[in-house]
Subunit: 341 residues, 4 copies
């Protein structure tokens, strides 16, 4: 069986486990006050060229989204997001459980545009009844998106501009950020993100860590008492060192980039393999998630030897399925997959 | 100036004020335990032919929607509603503030169909990731809808059937219910609603009362501890007699129907007046809200003498506006309005 | 039967009903934008000598407490209140339903002291683990308290000072405010309250209105988007004129004070009647609620002809019961009550 | 420097790290569906002699408390807990953020009694106003308590009986459960806990794991859709295998008991050392937390070489401080500490 259904099938990059092992019996204060967390923060600040950034570590994506969004919104505000956004579809209502509406915008392969945001806000502002409506208070984007697509630097800048014009923070969900940063032809770097987003996070769970997301607040004091907010959301890890050590390792010697690049290479090989054999891609994805159109019979046959993600029915005979590579995918995994076609 | 922007411009039907006056100095227990509330409940049960119904009175629509929906949903459930539904647009996020997602469905002039509900649920049930998603737990419809349109008896029965099939209650927002019941050609009566909805409410605020909505729970014990839930939502009126007296009056000698019928007659006169003068209706509304297409210049001119509601831009030269009649509209109001055209 | 169990047994002062009647068929915009609400606001500003005050009207006490407290607290903050406070005991958890902890302080007949607040905050500030704890963010007092007792001007000033010192607003629940203002020997006026509290409300429900509480925000812009917050809490009355007319009437020709004074006179007569007959007061209450110690047998006998509130068991043979007078109590009601002893 | 301020200073027991290492590159499904989680569940069921138990793994204590309590309560219910309980003091209001009131009971060194619970409920049931109050819906106890004390089997049985009598679940927070199970003279075993509690959890974070709490639901189907509830609370770990592997290791060859016993031995040695040197214990604690009374000067001197937890001021000259041992404490750590006295 070949496994391509997600990018969190394995444990962690071996270097991370090694460092957990080396430091295991050291005594360290809890809750992120340890020296490893401090070191990781310093390295991330440098990587983002954002010396003033506040950095907090959390365990998982839904937790991070719910905690950050709740902390950035007033009670009467909602969050603008793509209709297809993770927070709108696959977080079991965690945002609403925190009291906030997700204001869904139409998307193009997972992306929303500055124009759509601007139009939403202008329409809201012109509505004579807007005091009876949820005020848009934040824009959420994911990069890569749930479709594996990427914003360009220009697109991010324009989103940031519309947000600034309307006094709203821009929050970027980077659960798969490494795979975005190392895509070919992207001009979006960590520095570009830090320049344009008030808050974003660097995903570890899907990019080489056992677990963990590094939240970067690029404007100091944007979120007062964030530590307590994290605690209230049940998102404060007692042994914060575990997060510190992992991110410290990922941000040493460019490990985060290097393993992300590997996943991109594997995705390229996979994509090319499919195309050579005459398969059709649903659309062009530059990152570690590839979406392929399969005839339903072919899909059923393939499912016996390969695991992949169901994406959507294309028509009565075809289905779109997702193959995900990761830091841990090996070249021979791809070869075995292609051999099954 | 002629006022047609809403159906809550005046106080209450004179008979209601008279009874408030007559009973004013009587001493009555609070919180709906008084004899007037008991009497009103009895009359409503009869009018619905639903002797087992539990009936609670609340003050306003948003409050009622938020309290009822919160009481019917488990924490992991959301409410299916038309994209255009009041709870999705004009309640400032009250449902989400209670922790629940509004699962928006496409609508046709404010109505959703049993097919759309069925499709949503089947798609949800078939989704391998549905444990990560908000479970649909309730269907919300408004009748009349925000567009003034009405469900037919068959449509309600089919909505009820799909709800029952999937173990979900059907909740009907009747903020303007009287105007629906008295529309020409409708086959939906209070009894039909009580037969098909687990919970619904009979709107008073927009139909002759100072304020007040009568919540009818057609299945006994569907909502344990509803009294405490009402209190927790700040929706328990200390002098519950005020609600009891108002609904007792509205349900004496068919007053509720009679004044609703009057509003329908006035709407018909208004509609015919517009049509005779060559105006175009946006669509055919059978109730007290009429939607007329106006040239923008005409609209601006009219706005100097008549107040109405902005609905939407039709094209660059035309706008859809709303005129609402009510129990209090007088024939000469319509005449004056038509004279302005 | 003589009724003394609460101060909301009747409808409204006749002048209020008369004005509702006179204005009934006028057309007025909704949601508090009408001229009566504007007029009432202006009169209340004058009565408080607080020209910059923002004033909003809501329907009931629990609703007002929940809405105001939610609007004043950040998500990580709680509200300091007497252990016996209405919000801590008798609002069905409305504050917690909004996400906030009530931080209970010991009380003396319903009152908390500036010292207790100061000590709580200092202890909190010195606790090395306070980032794991709920931050006190607001002080709630009721005046009169649930025991009918009153703060002095000095006590309020000291509470205000400790609040200011720690950057917390002081919020005063005035559900029975009239009866406090007109108590003998009090030096607390509306002006004193407006000087010392960031937010307070003037109770109408228990003091002559059908319903209604006037929320006074003494610092402009303290609560951005309060209108939307009110809507979200289901606390926005469609026909806001009803609140405007009631408070406009109550603040015309000193009606609010005059009818409150009457309740105090009646309470005094009641108290003196009990004392003359040798009964013991549980403590000295200066307002419209009187707490009397009854032998249990006497209590049972009395309960056949008089309704009153159970307060607490004093010992195995004695019970404390509450008698409430109001704007509507008549001298002969007291006489009949005393004749039953 | 000697570190005794908490029991989560180190990483994990070496056997756990070894197994994480061995299994690291295996591909496993996420969210707890992996074979290690299944195996761990089976071992825990056996250890509890509760074959029907449902078992879910979460990351930390506050998260677990908030998720479980929210899942067990209706919206109108609160949780009874010791005034000193972790959920009432040190979870930043996580329970209230979920909408529920913590109903605080007086405690004796962290313990509440069946009598106190019974009295609370009877008082509630007899209160004529209880429909305006938060209904007690659940009892929360911690074992060991925050004071390191333990319930006896009889005490747990009596708590369970009062809960059953009133239809409430009993929930036991076992963040330090191992240290309770292995205390000398305790008659409370995992089986006893499973017999008496509807839900409890077995703490890993403080007892040898990197992180993790195993929630045991002893009554099948008590909590429908718990998986989705976990997700909504941001408490679902993507790589659930990490929790499975850790608990599988802890419940292999009695490792959990063995390392817990070691902590108890170390605590005993520490306690005896203090007593031999004439120090006074604040009270007798049978578990890994020991509370010692220190003169303030002695405390300040000691703090230069030893870290410990501040507990409370005893009088103006004395302070109670806490020393915690753990699975990782070494005999020579104790000796060095005692040498500092």
């Amino acid at each position: 069986m070949q496994y391509f259904e997600s990018d969190y099938l394995e444990g962690a990059h071996p270097l991370i486990l090694q460092r957990l092992l080396e430091t295991n019996m050291e005594k360290a204060p809890g809750y992120g006050l340890d020296k490893y967390s401090q070191s990781a923060r310093e390295k991330i600040r440098k990587a983002c060229n954002c010396p003033q950034a506040e950095i907090h570590f959390m365990v998982g994506g839904t937790q991070t989204n719910a905690t950050v969004i709740d902390s950035l919104l007033s009670s009467y505000e909602g969050v603008l997001a793509a209709d297809s956004g993770h927070i709108n579809v696959h977080e079991a209502g965690a945002i609403e459980a925190g009291g906030h509406k997700v204001l869904a915008l139409p998307h193009t392969y997972g992306k929303i545009s500055a124009e759509a945001v601007e139009t939403y806000i202008n329409t809201f502002n012109c509505d004579a009844n807007n005091e009876h409506m949820v005020k848009p208070g934040l824009v959420y984007v994911s990069h890569p998106t749930e479709y594996g697509t990427l914003y360009t630097k220009t697109e991010l800048k324009r989103l940031s501009a519309v947000c600034k014009r309307h006094g709203m923070p821009l929050f970027l969900d980077g659960a798969r950020l490494g795979y975005g940063l190392m895509a070919e032809d992207t001009d979006v770097t960590l520095e570009v993100i830090a320049d344009n987003c008030e808050v974003f996070y660097i995903g570890g769970t899907k990019v080489g860590a056992l677990f963990g997301e590094a939240v970067v607040i690029t404007r100091p004091n944007l979120i007062p008492h964030f530590f307590t907010i994290i605690k209230q959301h049940g998102a404060l890890l007692a042994k914060g060192r575990l997060l510190g050590i992992q991110f410290d390792t990922l941000f040493t010697d460019d490990l985060y980039k290097q393993i992300s690049k590997h996943a991109i290479d594997m995705a390229k090989k996979l994509k090319e393999g499919f195309m050579e054999k005459g398969y059709r891609l649903y659309f062009e994805s530059p990152t570690n998630q590839q979406f392929v159109v399969l005839e339903n019979k072919e899909m059923e046959r393939l499912a016996k030897n390969v695991s992949f993600g169901f994406w959507e029915n294309l028509d009565s005979n075809h289905t779109v399925v997702r193959f995900a590579t990761s830091w841990a995918t090996q070249e021979r995994d791809i070869e075995k997959l292609l051999a099954c076609l």
